[in-house]
């Protein structure tokens, strides 16, 4: 178990090296923490909004989607939607909204964990946060499609308004309404966090790859001892050739 953990967490930075090149090792950590902070702050902001324009609504109708709720003219929009047979907006994405807090918390924690992971596994750990904005938009598209395509055929205006998919981004039309949808500040922040985390990985690689390689080298440099007819660590080759023994202690040593 510890071997697996050591494998995942990777090598620690020696103090001397850290002192000699502080920027190299602080930068990826800073970026990952920054990404986490931005991601957490995005929770309180709306991620997506839609405005509906029609002659009889001079100020337009607005709905903002936060990760855990909808705000805006939801009841007025629901009232209009019942004429075309669309389900109430708050029926959509209930699971997503209920778990969004935990999900964001988890993704942020993973980013923070990636600070301490000095192996290539850091990329995998940071992946949820990096993919989150895309995931959000995909999920949004799924629900818009589901609700817009499954209209109650018995609805009063079913002859006038046929099943449709409201666009996730940009303009659309439904009935007498022109809709304009777009990402809002929360999504922008999540995208920035995603970008920062993604960039952080490159710096992460720049910082930790040499260390990782060195530790792997120590573990992976192998040779085949003809005499013993088995694979032994390269450093042990001579000794092995003579004594046909592998020294397990050599495996633990990491050259300074």
């Amino acid at each position: 178990m510890w071997r697996i953990l050591r494998f995942i967490f990777g090598p620690r930075v020696p103090l001397l090296e850290l002192r000699r090149r502080p920027v190299r090792y602080v930068l990826p950590s800073l970026l990952l923490v920054g990404a986490a902070i931005i991601l957490y702050n995005s929770y309180s902001k709306p991620y997506w909004n839609m405005t509906l324009h029609a002659p009889q609504y001079p100020n337009g109708l607005h709905v903002q989607a936060y990760l855990n709720r909808l705000e805006g003219d939801v009841s007025e929009i629901d009232g209009l939607n019942h004429y075309i047979g669309m389900r109430p907006l708050n029926d959509a994405a209930q699971l997503e909204r209920e778990t969004s807090f935990m999900a964001i918390a988890a993704m942020g924690l993973l980013l923070l964990a990636a600070v301490m992971v000095h192996s290539p596994w850091a990329a995998l750990i940071a992946l949820p946060a990096i993919l989150f904005p895309a995931g959000f938009l995909l999920d949004l598209y799924f629900w818009l499609h589901l609700f817009g395509q499954n209209l109650d055929p018995h609805a009063a205006l079913s002859n006038s308004v046929k099943p449709f998919t409201p666009p996730v981004l940009g303009e659309g039309n439904v009935g007498q309404f022109r809709t304009v949808a777009g990402g809002d500040s929360g999504l922008t922040m999540a995208m920035i966090a995603s970008g920062v985390a993604f960039t952080a990985l490159f710096f992460h690689r720049w910082a930790y790859r040499p260390l990782w390689k060195k530790s792997r080298k120590a573990k992976l440099a192998l040779a085949f001892c003809r005499k013993c007819e088995q694979v032994v660590p390269a450093q042990e080759l001579e000794a092995a050739a003579q004594g046909c023994r592998s020294s397990s202690r050599a495996l633990e040593e990491v050259p300074a």
Partner: protein, 689 residues
């Protein structure tokens, strides 16, 4: 790891590309591109009048003055007026709301008369209307004369409107948050009035001055006893701003001689604490006694050279009332003439020849009395009045009331023309007086502290503008306040004669908008507005942004009399029908586009209590509610709840329906009210269908 990082990079690029179009939902201009294209096509019409405007003017035979007037008043769609005019609706018993300068009628507020569109008097509002009953008799009309806006520190505050009924001596209170009448009070000692409504500078009191002399409480007394038994009065109604109601228990009246009091105005600024009223029948004419008698009121009441300006210290009167020095008449406290004189509350001073109208200047220094049958306006100085009172410079008249020496209190007199009636003021030290017989409005200058505001000599006639025709009252923007705006004046003309297409022998009145923004003698009439529903008399003009009316009621289940959400008002989910014995209680909601429940079944003779709430919260989403045959019609604004109570005494099948066009399926917003004839039973389950 290389592969992973490249695929991550690819994903990121996809993300950025896909999200390129999305930006925060900034609201674009309302009608979209169409409006922009139209205004571009019009060729930047706001800069300079193009040849199109010229062609139109020529084709319609408009002079440059006409075009200027049109430009000053035309208000394009979607743009609001600068001022709101709260006008009396005359015999309609209602109040009118008119935008200035467009002179568009925005609303008729139902006050004394039932009004079905607003649901006033046909299932709702009867309790308020009944407050105006006269000795139990329904009086469902009024002759509205002078509405008054509530004031704070001598400025209109846009919170309440007081509307008086001259014909039956009643006062109503309208709440300007929802423009609905909340209270009517019937004066217990007077059966008619004219000097109402006027408010003290902080609306502590609403003043209602009497008119035709009658015994207090209008008890019978023969006219031979006029001097002994007949009286006039001025009633001070205490207004409680917190509850938004007149507090009858804190109100009182002052007995006055039967001199036919006419109009009042409250002092402000230096004269705050005093009210002034004029009278016109000190002759105490009582009309022709026989058919051969030629002494009609019109000459009988006009014999004396002077009548009396009433000068009343209302603060002292309030103290006298609170000290209990009153006589109860019909259960209402009245300060008798003797008490008023003894306490130094009441003074007179002569005013010329049956005058009409006393108006206090913005700073409160002067009271302007218009001659009516004398071509002068007489200006009294408050300072001089106070000095005369202090010096006891008076003689007493027949009722014992001190009459201050005329020359000691008059500041100036200005000869204006024939039939001066009412005076209003502006921000440049000008006064405007209506001249009924000249059919004109005179602009003249005030003196004293107002001299430096205008370029002309003080106390001088500057100009007269003819009006069409026979002007009564006039109104200037915020003209009754401590700081009038000037700019607009309205002439409330009594006769329209040839101004409009003839629509039968009963002609509309004519409100004329006059531009008074320039100094000097130019005051052109710029708009004629016909009023075809009553003879309005007077209006007050208030800056439109002082009115903070609600767009919807603030909560679902809102009771407009309580001005709060009412416990027990049905909200979504509360719909049910509850039956107990022969009482059926219905809890109904209304939303686009259905009532819930849609079927109500009761037995003939059942007592029906029907609660309905409009559960919308969108502006303009009003639902009407009508039950044919039962004479019921309601208007339910967004959030509003109302309770109907009636007996289902007519069996049959009735279709109730939403009567205010609400949605694409408004026609389908209906239901059945079934009244089963006696002998048929309805199931006793207490649930909704």
């Amino acid at each position: 790891m290389r592969k992973a990082s490249t695929s991550l990079a690819a994903a990121a690029l996809l993300l950025l590309a896909g999200c390129g179009g999305g930006d925060g939902g900034t609201t674009t201009s309302e009608s979209g591109g169409g409006l922009q294209q139209a205004s571009q096509a019009a060729g930047g019409a706001s800069s300079g009048l193009g040849s199109t405007a010229q062609a139109i003017a020529e084709a319609r035979d408009l002079t440059p003055d006409d075009v200027a007037a049109a430009l000053k008043t035309y208000t394009p769609s979607g743009r609001f007026d600068e001022y709101l005019l709260f006008a009396s609706g005359g015999h309609s018993g209602q109040a009118l709301v008119i935008g200035v300068p467009s002179m568009r009628l925005l609303k008729v507020i139902a006050v004394f008369t039932p009004e079905p569109w607003q649901g006033w008097g046909y299932g709702a509002g009867e309790d308020v209307l009944a407050q105006g009953d006269v000795n139990g008799k329904e009086v469902r009309w009024a002759d509205v004369h002078h509405p008054a806006l509530s004031e704070t520190n001598g400025e209109y505050d846009g919170e309440f409107l007081f509307v008086g009924d001259k014909a039956n001596a009643r006062i109503a209170v309208v709440d300007l948050r929802d423009f609905e009448t909340k209270q009517i009070v019937k004066n217990p000692i007077a059966i008619n009035d004219h000097g109402g409504c006027f408010v003290t500078p902080n609306s502590e009191y609403v003043i209602e001055g009497g008119q035709y002399g009658t015994p207090l409480g209008w008890d019978y007394a023969p006219l031979e006893e006029y001097e002994a038994s007949y009286r006039g009065n001025v009633t001070l109604w205490k207004f409680d701003r917190t509850s938004g109601r007149i507090d009858v228990g804190q109100s009182f009246a002052i007995e006055l001689p039967p001199y036919w009091q006419d109009l009042f105005d409250a002092g402000k600024g230096v004269s705050e604490g005093w009210i002034f009223g004029n009278s016109l029948n000190t002759e105490m004419a009582t009309g022709t006694a026989t058919l051969t008698d030629k002494n009609f009121f019109e000459s009988g009441a006009s014999q004396n050279e002077t009548d009396y300006l009433h000068i009343i210290d209302w603060r002292k009167a309030e103290e006298v009332f609170k000290a209990g020095k009153v006589t109860m008449v019909k259960g209402f406290p009245v300060i008798s003439i003797d008490t008023a004189v003894a306490e130094g509350i009441l003074y007179f001073t002569p005013e010329l020849k049956s005058p009409h109208g006393v108006d206090v200047t913005p700073g409160g220094e002067y009271m302007v009395v218009s001659g009516k049958l004398d071509p002068h306006v007489t200006i009294y100085s408050f300072d001089k009045i106070q000095k005369a009172i202090a010096a006891k410079n008076w003689e007493t008249e027949q009722y014992g009331i001190p009459v201050l020496d005329f020359d000691a209190v008059v500041e100036a007199q200005v000869e204006l023309g024939l039939g001066p009636l009412h005076t209003q003021f502006d921000d440049k030290g000008y006064a405007y007086t209506s001249l009924f017989l000249d059919s004109a409005i005179a602009r003249w200058t005030l003196g004293g502290p107002y001299s430096r505001k205008h370029p002309e000599q003080p106390w001088t006639l500057v100009a007269k503008t003819p009006v069409q025709y026979n002007v009564g009252h006039l109104g200037t923007a915020e003209g009754d306040t401590a700081s009038p705006d000037g700019r607009y004046m309205i002439s409330f003309n009594k006769w329209s004669i040839d101004r409009f297409t003839n629509v039968g022998p009963l002609l509309p009145q004519n409100f004329q908008l006059i531009d008074i923004s320039a100094t000097g003698d130019r005051m052109p009439v710029i708009y004629d507005m016909p009023i075809g529903l009553g003879e309005p008399h007077y209006s007050q003009m208030i800056k439109a942004d002082k009115i903070k009316a609600w767009e919807i009621y603030p909560g679902i289940g809102w009771d407009s009399q309580l001005q709060a959400v009412r416990d027990g008002a049905p909200k979504p989910g509360d719909e049910k029908i509850v039956r107990s014995g022969s009482t059926v209680e219905i809890f109904m909601t209304a939303v686009r586009s259905h009532f819930k429940p849609e079927r109500i079944e009761v037995n003939e003779g059942d007592h029906v209590i029907w609660h309905i709430t409009n559960v919308e919260q969108t502006k303009d989403a009003t639902h009407g509610f009508g039950i044919p045959g039962y004479n019921i019609t309601l208007s339910l604004e967004p959030g509003e709840t109302h309770t109907l109570e009636f007996t289902a005494d007519q069996p049959g099948t009735y279709s109730f329906y939403c009567s205010e066009f609400c949605s694409a399926l408004h026609l389908e917003m209906a239901g059945y009210f079934l009244v089963k004839p006696q002998g048929t039973t309805v199931s006793n389950a207490s649930n909704s269908p």
